[in-house]
Symmetry: C2
Subunit: 749 residues, 2 copies
Amino acid sequence: MTANIPLAFHVGPSDGPGREPDAFVPARVPGAVQLDWARAHDWAPWWQGDNFRQYRWMEEKWWTYRAVLPAMTLAPGERPVLVCDGIDYACVVRVDGAEVARHEGMFTPLEVNLGAFAGKECTLDIVILPAPRMPGAPDDRSQARGSAKPAVGYGWDWHPRLVPLGLWRAARIEMRGAGWLPKLQLGYRLAENLSAVTVKLEWEFPSAPPEGRLRYALQDTGGKTVATGEVGASAGRVVGQLTVAEPALWWCRGHGAQALYTARVELVLAGRVTATQTRRVGFRRARMVMNAGAWDRPRDFPKGRSDAPATLELNGRRIFLKGSSWVPPEVFPGLIDGARYAELLRLAGEVNMNFLTSWGGGIVNPDEFYEQCDALGLMVGTDFPLACNNYDAAGEAYLGVLEREARTIIGRVRAHPCNVMWKGGVELFNAWSGMTDQSLPLRLLGKLCYELDRDTPYLATTPLQGMMHGDYRFRDERGDDIFQIFQRVTSRLGTAHCEFGCPGPASVEVLREFIPPEELFPVRAGTAWETHHGLKAWDADPATWLSLSTLEHYFGPTGSLEELVGRGQWLQGEGMRSVFEETRRRWPECAWACNWCFNEPWPAAANNSLVTWPARPKPALALVAAACRPVLASARIPRFDWRPGETFECELWLLNDAPEAAAAGTVEARIVWGDDSRTLLRWEHAAVPAQTNLRGPTARCVLPDGAAESFELCLETPGFPERGSRYRLCCRLVVADGAAPPATRALNL
Amino acid sequence: MTANIPLAFHVGPSDGPGREPDAFVPARVPGAVQLDWARAHDWAPWWQGDNFRQYRWMEEKWWTYRAVLPAMTLAPGERPVLVCDGIDYACVVRVDGAEVARHEGMFTPLEVNLGAFAGKECTLDIVILPAPRMPGAPDDRSQARGSAKPAVGYGWDWHPRLVPLGLWRAARIEMRGAGWLPKLQLGYRLAENLSAVTVKLEWEFPSAPPEGRLRYALQDTGGKTVATGEVGASAGRVVGQLTVAEPALWWCRGHGAQALYTARVELVLAGRVTATQTRRVGFRRARMVMNAGAWDRPRDFPKGRSDAPATLELNGRRIFLKGSSWVPPEVFPGLIDGARYAELLRLAGEVNMNFLTSWGGGIVNPDEFYEQCDALGLMVGTDFPLACNNYDAAGEAYLGVLEREARTIIGRVRAHPCNVMWKGGVELFNAWSGMTDQSLPLRLLGKLCYELDRDTPYLATTPLQGMMHGDYRFRDERGDDIFQIFQRVTSRLGTAHCEFGCPGPASVEVLREFIPPEELFPVRAGTAWETHHGLKAWDADPATWLSLSTLEHYFGPTGSLEELVGRGQWLQGEGMRSVFEETRRRWPECAWACNWCFNEPWPAAANNSLVTWPARPKPALALVAAACRPVLASARIPRFDWRPGETFECELWLLNDAPEAAAAGTVEARIVWGDDSRTLLRWEHAAVPAQTNLRGPTARCVLPDGAAESFELCLETPGFPERGSRYRLCCRLVVADGAAPPATRALNL
C-alpha cells in the first residue's frame, strides 16, 4: 500500500463560483482563509482594537484552495481518496476544472475517490462557498438559521462578527487498498444492574470486499486483555461484539476513578496484519432523573405536568452538576489544538468542576476534547449546533444536512463516557428563538439520538420547565443583587440553574493588549471597550458587560482603570460564588449549577467568562473553585451591600457533595471590618453524611460604625483549613448627612 | 384464485399453555372469550349489579379458539394465509398441535402462511394467553405497565375490572396468489403554501414477484379523476406517487367542507385486473402553534421555557378546539361496530364539537372510527396505548411490541385527515405515572411519528406546561365551585384545558336497569352504586362520582331518587357548560377545551360522561351543545350559589369562534327568581369579527327575597334566537334564623 499524499494548498478569493481568484496566498491547513490572507498581508492581530472589521468582506467571497495532485501509481485495487476532516462550511471540489463533489457541513468529513485522475498531474480545487446566510435575515446571528453552521461567528454579545471559513481540519490524499480499514464506530450497552457490558464495533467497508478477518480485543486500564473477538470483513456493514462481565465503571471526578478501556483492532488479509486501530472507551450509565420533591408539584387542579427531570444520575448515583458553559476557545476553530484543550480543561478540573456544557452556538468539539474530558472525569453535555435561532423555516435541505452532521457527531462521541447528555440546542423554547416541541429539527435530533445512542439522555434544549437560564447580572433592573435574585427562586422555579452569569472585566494587563492606550480610561462608548463587549453588548441591558451603572451604584465614581477593574472583578467573583453556593444549598431539590461561561474566544473587555482568552484565569475563577470544593463552610448572605450600624446576618451551612461523609468539625464565623474583627459564633457540627448539606445557626451582629469600601466574613474551620471560606462584602458609602445612599444613575453613554 | 375460507371457531379455557380445554363453547368472531362463555352459560348481563365479578377468573386462563382447517386445493403459486385482524392480546397458533406462530399486540394483524398444511384437513388452534400482568404489580391498572394492552380493563374510576381477551377483529383464511394485492399504505405531503399535494402509495409485496402493473388514480369529491399513475409491481416495497395541484383541503366542521378524495388502485397481470383497492384520503395541514401571549412568558430571570404550543392550526387557520375525550364505548372492543361509532360520533357533531381525544387507556380505534370522523369533520387526537402508568421498566420486549404496534397504527391512520395530533399517552408526566421526557417508550414513539407521519404534531403526553388536566369536581376541597376553579386559572396556567370534568348521575330509568331495586334509594355504600362508580370511585375524592356531599352542601338532604338525579344532573350541566364558556372567553390565550369524557363503556351510576352507555345523552350534553355554538351570548358568572338579598353580578360576552363575523345585535339579561322576573340590562353590540369574542357590560342586581332552590339568568338575543342562553343557578337555602348556611358535612359512608 502506498503512503498517504500530503497536499500543499494556496488559497485565494473570487467573486463567484466559477471565477478564477485574482491572487493566491499560502494556506495553512488546518486553518481558515481569513488567517491565511491576514498572514500573507502582514495584518495586525485581528483581536486588537476593531481590526476584526477588516475581515468582513471575506465572508462574502468564494475561496479556492488549490493544490497540485501529483500523478499517482496505484497498486491493484487501490483508490486515492481525498479526505478533508473538516470543511467550514460548504464547498465544491474540482479536478482540472471538473466538479467531482459538493459538500455541506463542518462535522462530517468529506471523502472523494480521485482514482479517475490518478494517471497524470492535476489541479485540485476545493472552493469554499461564502458564509451561509438565511435570505432576508438581518445582519446578525439569525443569518445562521438556515444552516448547520455554528451561529456564534455571526456575532454575539461577547463575540465579534467574524465568520470563519476554510479547511478547519486536516486534508490529504489517502491511498486505500484492500488492506485499508474504515473508521471504527463503537457503541456499548450496560446491563440494567451494571454487571456486564456489551461492546459493539462497527465498520462500513466500501463495495470491494476485503475478504479478511477483523480481530479485536478489549484491554482494561492496566493493559490486561479482558475480551477478544473476530469477525469476517466483507463489503458493507461489519459488526463485531464483545462482552465483559463486571466492567470497571467510569466515574466523573470527585466520585471515583476514570476507568478507560482500550479497544484494539487488526485487519488481517492472507495472514498479514494490514491495518490496526486503537480506540479508548469507558462505560457508564447516565440518566436524567427527577429531582427530590419534583413529583409533588404541581399540586392544584387544573394541573400541568411535573418539572422535567434535572438530576444527573451516574452509575446509579445522583450527582450535583457543578460546571460551566464551554464556548469556542478561538474565533477560528482551525486554531484550536490539543494543547489548548489541555490547558483549559485542566483548569476546569482544578477548580472542582465536574461538568461542562458544550454550547451549541459554537462548534461540536473534536475527539481531542472528549478524550481529555474522559481522562479528567469532566462530564459533558453536548449541544448540537442550534442556538438562539428558529431553524424551522430552513427546509428539507437543512434537515438533510443536520441529519448527516448529527449522525457523524453521535457516532463519534457516543463511546466517550464523559458525554452524559445530548441537547438539541440552546435556548430554543424561548421568545428570542421561537422553536417549540413541534419543531422538526429537534424532533429529528431526538429520533437520531434514540437510534444511535439511546442510553444517553436527550434534552431538546435548556431552559426547560424547572431548568433555568439567567440572570447574567450582578444587579437587576428591580435593584435586587445576585444574592437576592437567586434566593428568591423557589424550588418550583429552579430544579437546575443550567446557565447563570455574572460579568467582570478583563485584567488591566489584558485590557492593555487590545485597547488602544488613548481609549483605556475613562471608559467611553465607540471605543474598543464597546467593540470588545464592555458596553451595550446585551440587548436586554445596555450596562453590559462592564456594569458601570452597578459599580457606580455601589461605589460612586471610579478614579482609575485599576480601581474599575478591581471593583468589577470583585463583584464577578462574589457574584458567581454566591450562586454556586446558593444552588448547592438547595440540593437535592436543585441539582445543577453551571455558570455562563467558562472561557472566551477573544479578549473581551468585560464578559461572564471565568477565563480570559486564551487561557488566563480571572480572579473569579478562584472563588468558583472555592464554592465548588466537595466540602466547605458556606454562608447564606442575604445581600451584598451593608451599612454601618445595620444588623448583618447570615446562615451557616456545611456543604458536602462528596460521596463520603465529612468529619465533624467547627465553623467559626468572624467579621473583619477595617481594623475591627469580631467573632460572631462558633458552630460545632456533627459529621455530615455523604452528599448532604447541613444547615447551621444564623449568625448576627450589628456592624460597626466607620466607613470602609468592604468588609469580610470569614468562616474558619480549625483542623480542616480546606473547608474555610472568606467573603468580601460591600460596605455601602453613605452620603455625608446620613441620608439614603445615592440612587442608581442611569449610564449616559 | 380461490375464495377466502371463513373459519368457524369454538373456544374453551385451560390452565396452561399445553393443556387441552375441558370444554368448548361456540365462539363469535369478532368478540371476546368472556362473551362466548357467558352466552353459552346463559349468564345474566355482565353490566347489571356486580355480575362483572363473575368474569374475574377468565383473565387468568389460556383460551383455545379451535376451528377445522379444511383440506385445500391450491392453484399454482397460491398461499392459504391465516389472517387475524385483531388479537386481544397475545397468542400462540398451532396446526395439528404444532406451533406455527406467536403474536403479541392488539393492533397489528397476525398473518400466517399455512401452505404446508393445505393437503389435508387439520385442526387450527389459536391459543390466547392470559391477560398480561406486570410481575409484582398490585391488582389494578399498574398490571398493564408491562405491555401494550390498553390499561382500562384492569379497572378505572369509571370502568369495572374486566380484562377482555380473544379475537376482537375478524379472522379468516385468505387465498393469496400472484394476483393478490397487499394492503395499500397512503401518505401525503402538502406544499408549504398548500398549493399542491404529493400522494405516496406503498405496498409491500411478498417475496414471490407478481410481475404486474399497479395502476392508480385519485378522484375528487365529485368522482372526477384528478391524477393517475402506474408503477411496476415487484417483490418488496413498491412505491407509487401522484401530485395534485390546488387540492381541495379538508376542514373540520364549522370551518369548511370535508373534502375527501378517493384513491383507486388496480393490479394488472397479463392484461387482466386481478385485484382492486379503494381508499379515501383527505389533505390538511395540522400544526400546533404558540398561543397568543405565550412568548411573553416567562418574564423574569432565572427563566424557564415558554409554554408548549397549544393552539391547533388547520390549513393556516388557528382553531379553538371544542371537544371531549373519547373512551371505549364498550368494555369488550369486539362489540363495537360501525353503527355504534356512527350513533356516538353523530351526537358529537350535533353538539358543536370539532375535536375528540381518543384516550390512551382504551383501544386505538379501527378505521371505521376515523372514516366517520373524516366525514363528519371531527378532528381527533390519538393517544398511543399508554395511560397513567410507568412503562419504563417494561424492557426490550415491550419496546419491540410497542414499535410494531405503533408502526401499524401510524401507517393506518396517517391518511385520515381528521387525525391532527399524536400523543404518546395520557398523564404520563405526573406523579401517578412517573414517566419523563427521558422515558424510552415516549422517545421511541416520537421517533416513529417523525419517520412515518412527521407533518402531524406529536405530543409526548398531556398535561404539559400550560396544558392542563382537571379539575373533575363541581366543588373542590377548598370549597371553590367549578365556576371559581376555572376563573382563578391565570393564562400562565391554562393555554389549554385538555381534560376537565364535572360528574353527574345517570338518569333514573338507566339506574333502574342495572341497580337492584332494593339498592336504589337511599344511596348506600357496598351496593351497585359503589361498583358502578357512584361512590368512592376516584382515590383523590371519596365523594366521587355521585358527589353526595356537594349535593348536601347546596341543597341539604335529598328526599328521593328523582330529586338526587335531578340535582346531580343540574350541577353536571351547569358545571360543564361553565368551563367551556370560560375557556372560550380566554381565547386566543387559551385554545382548547375538552371535557372528560364523552361516552362510557358500561352504565356508570355517576360519571363525568356526557352520554350514558350505550348512546343515551345525559342532560348535560344539551348545555355543552349550547356552550359550543359558534356564536352565543355568554355570561361570566362568578359562582354557582347565591342568596336572597345578595348583589348578583355577571359579565356579558358575545362569543364567536366561527370563521365569519357575527352580525350586530342585542343581548338582554334577565333574572327569573320564582315568580319574579327582572330585566338587568340591554346591551347593543356591534358586529363581532370572525373568531373573536366581545366583552360586554357587567350586569348587577340585588337578588329578591324569598327562597327558591334555583333562579335563572336568561340572555335573550332578539332577532338571533340561536344565540340566546339560559343559566340555572342555585339559590342557597338559608337556615331559619338567617345565619350562615350549613357547613359541608363530610359524607359518612
